[in-house]
């Protein structure tokens, strides 16, 4: 699984950090997403999928089969 984030779309909700704090963080100044782990381990996949699904700005994209 590869994760990419679109900083221009990100609205700073922080839902992704609540769901997958080991993969996502937010910048202190404007709250925009920081991707901590572009190829997260398998144990993170379910949380990352949920984060991508509920991102209110549709700013998280997942590629790869697993």
């Amino acid at each position: 699984m590869k994760v990419t984030v679109d900083e221009e779309k990100c609205c700073g909700a922080g839902q992704c950090v609540l769901i997958a704090p080991e993969v996502f963080d937010q910048r202190d100044d404007d709250g925009i997403v920081i991707l901590l782990e572009a190829e997260p381990g398998e144990e993170q996949h379910a949380a990352v999928r949920e984060a991508a699904a509920v991102c209110p700005a549709a700013a998280i994209e997942l590629t790869g089969r697993d």
Partner: protein, 402 residues
Amino acid sequence: MAPPTPEVTHPEDVLIVGASAGGLAVAEALRRKGYRGRLTVVGAEPHPPYDRPPLSKQVLSGAWEGERTHLRSRDDLDRLEAEFVLGDPATGLDAAAREVRTASGRVLRADAVVLATGLTALRLPGQDDLAGVHVLRTLDDALALRRDLTTADELVVVGEGVLGAEIAATARGLGTGVTLAGLGDAVMGDHLGGLVGGMLTRLHAGRGVRLRLGVAARSLTGEDGRVTGVLLASGEWLPAGAVVVATGSRPAVGWLAGSGLTLGDGVECDARCRAADGVYALGDIASWHHEGLGRRLRLENRTNAVEQAQVVAANLLGEDRPYVPVPYFWTDQYDVKIQAHGFLTRDAQVDVVEGAPEENRFVARYTVGGQVTGVLGWNMAKAARLHRRSLAEAFTPEKPHA
């Protein structure tokens, strides 16, 4: 009356009515959870699923072309293995038979039906007879307003809520003259309370928006079929080359009359978002019992549509999950980004807990009756999210000793 027992077997086919963020999210969540049955998604608009929050901002400003709002690529939609029936509004439902009729005459039946038809914008009397008067709900609405803003020198926005405020900010950014008129006494005061409403009002005034607050729009004026202005209840006439009516919305449930469902403020559902056996609702149209609050709730925001979709998908597949979210929305106006968690009502006591309004950067905590009910970030998104946990008590069910 006890709610019906959830079905433990998976449905063989699921019909989703509504092809926006919520409808797409429930389809994707079903597949992610391993559902392999048939999926049909019916949408009123001809477009593939797209995102609405950018319509009043990036699309209206011209920063994005319309296609950038599409939520998924063509390939992603193909991989979903769902049949999309687009440009064909649903016109009727028989809830007991789980049968949906559409404008083109289709009759679709499924084991389970999910209702996600969103909102219909309110309109002013006579507006459909005048060119240059807009609502902003769909992508086509946004593109039509954008075209008018390229020629109109003066825009009147009716409605001081979040949509009216965002449209005013975007139009000012394009150099258009803007008058914002609304019933409330402060911009977004009904949603964010007096302190922040006052700050937003000053923000818009400082950017050159003429404000007419606390006054109703009485009627539209026109000439040769085109709008010329808005007449206020105060007697003042506001000249306009274009007008946006952003006075609110209603759940799009007109097509559900006679369906057998209970329609109140939207489609009435139980705590599991179930409206009837095998019929679920989500997003703007769903009024459900929030077990944490102990009362019925309906939310109109983007986050709610996709979060509720996760719960509906789980319950469709035999789980038994109540939907107990902390409400959240955001708004961007000029260089201000606001994050709103929970309820930010006028009656709340508002305390600044981090940063300072004078620094254009703060977090405010909203308290009602000793309980924290809301957290707002003004250019302080991360800090606001960290304060969100103080809301847990107000929104969590099963307070054992309460």
